[in-house]
Symmetry: C3
Subunit: 273 residues, 3 copies
């Protein structure tokens, strides 16, 4: 009677569905019906509504910490019900990314190494009514569950030549520094920029022994630190955060509020005169 | 030494406890002590505080997507500690609904088909102090866990003749249209009405080829669309949503804010003159 | 090929990381890589940012409801990247508490009975880059997962003589009553005080048959009740809550908002004249 839960990689879910409604719970119910022994891990459901870029960055920062073979189910889908395709991407480590073809999964899947990509054809694998507004429930969750179960990809759709890419703005070298911008704001109000650790190391190598200053559009000047803890409470700091990118924080505070800054806010790093 | 996790249906939890406190975590700890191999799925804990109707609708929209035999543990309980009974309802598909007898579980259980209903008598199955304010921990979570473990219902309480029902307002036919109201507002601000797909189909059949318009109390007039994507960004639309009910949305926006609308707001669908 | 999920106690996680970002999901991915068959339970991730005291109280209120042997992974860590130590505490019931040495785990571990305590040395068990800002991912989650796997503690660090304690303010007897304060505010706005059931019982024993009144700094006077349900909608009440401490609530309302009260607000219980 009783069978057992395999140690297979989990299904990891990321959405912008929030925590108020039953939408995520329903997706998990759909998975439990098809793949009752799958482990499900929530990456987050708090992606700002319909922010494909924020979702793409969160997924890129997450995928490599999960077991090889994890099925990533990602739904941030402002175009639900339009012509955008439902897709599944297989990567070199045996993982899958299942979700809408709007760039959401591009940064992560590209970093993991794309092997094949398919257009999902839900009529092949799902019976019953299809909602035009809730593909998470009717298209993506069943696909993820069937893939987890080992159903062959060709029974879920057909090969796809290309998928949507997503390009993040890149930091540029300027006279005596770097020009970048904020690409993500986290729940603490920390401002994550597109200036990387190696960008900063190159700048430091060009101006050895010189102090670097971070400047915001609003006029703020901030010191580069090694940790949050080096600033006193209430003081701003810039440091390399867990994304391996420079981020601006306020110790025990909220940098997004303090500097009225958000995605797209311009940031410079300059060599002190 | 090691035993194994059965593939049995999960325990699925819905509450209004929110995500700030440890209350939901404690309920899961209680379940893990009694039924260590039970899978637990969160439906949501974001039901607006003490909104029995919102919880009832969310549960009705969820139950059928879960495996037959799922134990639903639902706690939205403004009357905790008063005379309202703790109950468990068995439905025809072998599922159980465990929670307070205040109508919260009525819509779902009635749709699933009620087979038996029992009044829980926690003294029969739970030792230790009972909190008067946290029956989720001391009454409902242990009951759900014991039921999951297969403990006979008669060891948890006694049969109950009737339970509280919950009636949602229904849409009515008016001269050349339908009069309904908002019964649920989701986290995106979408206004879910009590006007169903079949209500609209009947209206369309009576006035073939005529355009239908949705009217709000505030004077707004909105077109019926097939998907969110058919409206341009910032524009309102009405469509059949994932509840199989007409809902009013703003593409890339928030209809509840735009129309200052909420539960109880009157909505009409009329045939254009 | 397939191996099975043991019924071992879960890893239970409590953080202040919130629900917007992928940070908690990443910690779970790290655990799934190291301990793929571990069950993970969220206690909460909604601890107010960097509120070590709120986290410590939530953990103290939670631990005893979990199976003996549970690994508690707790991260509220304003000093991340500074000299504060990463630690793991073993308690008499075979549980572990893994997190920063800032008092966060003290109330719970002390109540459970501390057996040994170790300073984690992540270089002993974790390879790869260490973030200075995300020890939840790089230090604490791997330690919890390896402990769950049964790796000997001495391979994770070395014994520690003392750890940080945390003292909560205690209620005091005054002339004809008790003087205490608010120590926790929950998501409903209920004000949990440091006045315990036994404090109230002692006061009642000293003044038999006399009515007790609860007084707030702001001038509010509130009756002691047995349950929330005894107050009419919108009315305030004081009752023994699920913490076994006196809490002040507003039926169907928010006491923190009503009385502009929060952690540290002074509360008295007095014998009516």
């Amino acid at each position: 009677m009783a069978t057992f839960r395999h140690i297979k990689p989990p299904i990891a879910i990321l959405t912008d569905f929030g925590y108020r409604d039953h939408y995520v719970g329903v997706m998990k119910g759909v998975i439990a019906r098809i793949a009752p022994n799958a482990s499900i891990i929530d990456i987050t459901h708090g992606i700002p509504p319909q922010s494909v870029i924020a979702g793409a960055i969160a997924l890129r920062e997450s995928w490599r910490h999960f077991p090889a073979g994890t099925i990533f189910l990602a739904v941030v889908d402002p175009g639900v019900g339009t012509a955008r395709l439902p897709i599944a991407i297989r990567t070199r480590n045996g993982s899958w990314f299942v979700g809408p073809d709007n760039g959401l999964m591009w940064l992560a899947a590209d970093e993991a190494g794309i092997k094949t990509q398919i257009e999902l054809v839900p009529e092949l694998y799902h019976s019953g009514v299809f909602s035009r507004t809730f593909h998470g429930r009717d298209v993506f969750a069943p696909a993820a569950a069937y893939i987890w179960q080992g159903r062959p990809p060709k029974s879920l759709g057909h090969k796809l030549a290309t998928i949507e890419k997503l390009a993040l703005p890149t930091a540029k070298a300027i006279g005596r520094g770097l020009a970048g911008e904020v690409i993500y704001v986290d729940g603490y109000g920390n401002l994550v920029t597109n200036i990387s650790r190696s960008d900063l190391e190159r700048l430091r190598a060009s101006f050895p022994g010189r102090r670097l200053l971070v400047k915001l559009e609003s006029g703020g000047k901030i010191d580069l630190r090694n940790t949050y803890g080096e600033a006193r409470s209430g003081a701003p700091l810039a440091t390399i955060g867990s994304f391996e990118l420079m981020e601006i924080a306020v110790r025990d505070g909220n940098a997004a509020v303090r500097y009225a800054a958000g995605i797209g806010t311009k940031i410079k790093v300059v060599v002190e005169k």
